[in-house]
Symmetry: C2
Subunit: 454 residues, 2 copies
């Protein structure tokens, strides 16, 4: 039997493991799942005969090497910062490796060694990064294959709550790491290209510079810009492109309300609040407002941010119960961002029967024979339940399919890779369709980046 070692069995591994188990008979696979805590792995395996869960501390070099030596390929589903030691062992013991994480400089540094040993170290093959790379490159290559010149590429992804479970005013629940949502966009300004001009949006304006998108059957969304839209400009072969913009999708109205937290300073993760442990939610809000012996926290906030009493953003704040004087923060030496995260988790944690949704939207503008064209490609994936989420599906299935394709020598180009070549994206995108992960492409009039045309 061919042996696959999956390290990590967190929330995003359910579909990955299910896929491998379902293929284990026909493909002659034996799957070992290693984690420091094997509860979830056991649950995912059930009593399948072609799999086992082992306790594996990835920081224990001896047991890590032992596990890696005894497999044919390694899938690391650990947080990104834990991949590198695994990757070094993979090279040492000549094993292929697959991750869904961004290629770190340390990982990239293994490229020569991987090539020299004929090993595939495939990364960024989940979703954002992953399916976005593959679906974008497929359309970009097809445009270029027919002689087109790409002048615009915009790409947006959102991890959201499914419409049927969407029951709060923010139209949002946490489906990915809550912390990443709270600190999203911080650091230096968001940078992108619009019609040949570099544009910069500082954090305090990021959530006020949104744009709208429509997805057939799912209505309207808004997007705010990612920090670095230009990250894949060269990798995608878009060095001469006029417009390059990547962003994050939310339901319309989220960003305007979120900007209240940004403006007040509640998303700041760079310092700790005095005596945060004993604060009420109300105290927390008040810490960002002027002192007054008489005025209420509510009125001070409304006045500071000029919020009318009948503005829906006000209801959004109230819905989060942030003015509650009895709920305690309870976190010691917490940053504003940590406290805000806790407050939001009270309201935005998925409930048992909630389903999540993964939405992706690409726009491709190109010139062909002197005419301008545009293709819009959209994809929506819904979760089945709290285990088999849209997130786990879109992250785990491409990882699983790539793993088997490498084992079967359908993906063979050695080195530290990401899924941007036909060798990789064609078979994977094709198979993803069987699981309902499919892009809806349509030709639309070329709009460029002109608000007047929209």
């Amino acid at each position: 039997m061919r042996k696959i070692l999956v390290i990590g069995s967190g929330k995003s591994t359910s579909f990955l493991i299910k896929y491998l188990l379902d293929k284990s008979e026909s493909e002659n696979l034996y799957i070992t799942i290693g984690d420091i805590n094997i509860e979830n792995a056991k649950k995912l395996i059930g009593n399948h005969k072609n799999a086992t869960a082992i306790t594996l501390d990835v920081f224990n070099e001896i047991s890590r090497i032992e596990a890696i030596k005894n497999t044919d390929i390694v899938v690391s589903m650990l947080p990104a910062r834990f991949h590198i030691e695994v990757a070094k062992n993979c090279i040492q013991y000549k094993k292929h490796m697959v991750t869904a994480s961004y290629i770190s400089p340390e990982m990239q540094a293994l490229n020569d060694d991987a090539k020299a040993n004929g090993l595939v170290l495939m990364n960024e093959i989940g979703v954002d990064p992953g399916i976005d790379h593959m679906s974008a490159m497929q359309v970009l290559d097809s445009i270029r294959d027919k002689g087109g010149n790409v002048i615009l590429f915009e790409s947006f992804t959102g991890g959201l709550v499914a419409p049927e479970s969407d029951n709060n005013l923010w139209n949002y629940k946490f489906t990915w790491n809550p912390r990443n949502v709270v600190v999203a966009g911080q650091g230096s300004a968001a940078k992108f290209l619009q019609e040949g001009t570099y544009k910069y949006i500082p954090y305090n304006r990021l959530f006020r510079r949104t744009e709208f998108l429509e997805v057939d059957g799912f209505g309207r969304f808004e997007v705010y810009a990612n920090r670095d839209s230009l990250k894949y400009q060269s990798v995608y072969g878009l060095d001469n492109i006029k417009t390059l913009y990547r962003g994050t999708m939310r339901r319309v109205g989220f960003s305007r309300a979120w900007n209240i937290f940004v403006t007040l300073g509640m998303t700041d993760d760079s310092y700790t609040i005095e005596d945060s442990e004993n604060m009420s939610y109300r105290d927390f809000v008040n810490a960002f407002l002027t002192y007054s012996p008489t005025d209420s926290v509510e009125l001070k906030l409304r006045h500071a941010l000029k919020i009318d009493q009948d503005d829906i953003v006000w209801d959004k704040l109230v819905e989060l119960d942030i003015f509650n004087a009895n709920k305690r923060v309870e976190l010691k030496k917490a940053t504003p961002a940590q406290i805000l995260q806790k407050i939001l988790m009270d309201s935005w944690t998925l409930e048992e029967n909630d389903k999540d949704m993964l939405v992706m939207y690409h726009k491709f503008g190109y010139e062909l024979n002197g005419k301008k064209h545009q293709i819009d490609a959209t994809m929506v994936t819904l979760g089945d339940d709290q285990t088999y989420t849209a997130m786990a599906k879109t992250v785990g299935l491409p990882v699983a399919i790539a793993t088997l394709a490498i084992l079967n020598k359908k993906i063979t180009t050695p080195g530290v890779q990401m899924p941007i070549t036909k060798e990789v994206y064609q078979p994977i995108l094709k198979e993803l369709k069987d699981f309902g992960i499919q892009f809806n492409e349509k030709e639309v009039p070329y709009l460029g980046y002109n608000p007047l045309n929209n």
Copy 2:
């Protein structure tokens, strides 16, 4: 003769050197001024017989030690980061030392050595830090001496243009390091205490949370909060204080207009703008606004920031000529802050006959015999001309007076010091009066921090 070595002869040394020269006969002093460029030192010395200018590269250990060995006391007027090697040599060769800079952790680390050798390493004895410490401690000590309990301390300093030279809409010109003005307030949130509650203001709100102050004969000012108002809480003996707030003074209206730069992202110093060298001022502004094939930069800015066409802040922007399409930035790989600084220096550089102004305002609230009291203390110093500026006066004179007092063994407490003890502040504040640097103290009704009372 007693020998004094002054290292550095920049803009803030004119009064320092003049004071020492004027005292050189009666006090039997010989002053050596060392700088890498001795042009300015020569000009300041003229043909005075008790002084000489020497070329001194502070990074050249041999000549640095040679100069320090041959003196009785060292005054370092270099930028703060260059003090430490001088300070180490001072300890090595048993010389006292005076600086106007904040005590760095490296400087503080020399405290034990300084004490063991009976050396005074006096720091923070210019202005902000310096005169603010001394004038505050004098009043705080007098309140405590009469049995009062200090419940409020607010302290504000502004380096501004003198009223007679105040001829632009911002009522501001650069009198200190322009770079510090452009990046002021950045980093984590401003933190202070109001009526027993910790308050936090994020950078994007800092210039919208101002307060007003009146100075007799000079009209109205506004203040915005410093990053860390609590820095001297313990040093000043204010651990149980209810309100502690330090800030920077500007003329009213400055901050509201400045906030436009903050909001657009033009003060960001954390990344560089693409092709900044070839940008016009107009291009720079446009980089922070949405793309439009038709709308003007002016209208886009007005719309983004909701500025009415008859709002004075608009005239302030126009006055700076930032919409000029012909003026070029010319700076290679410049950050937004560097570009903004250049644009502002076109308008805000002091002209030959311009005079500057240094303003300081302290509020002291205290309880005595069950009653609440308040003392407001203000100080305004005007510059004489572009050499003998208010800045050079308020920085240089306390340094000079302290230097002579140490030489004359009137200030003797050894160690890494700042001017917060009576031994230091009493004689210095007394002598500063002879130069017109004097606080105007008055009892006012205790207002606390209650906007309704103001």
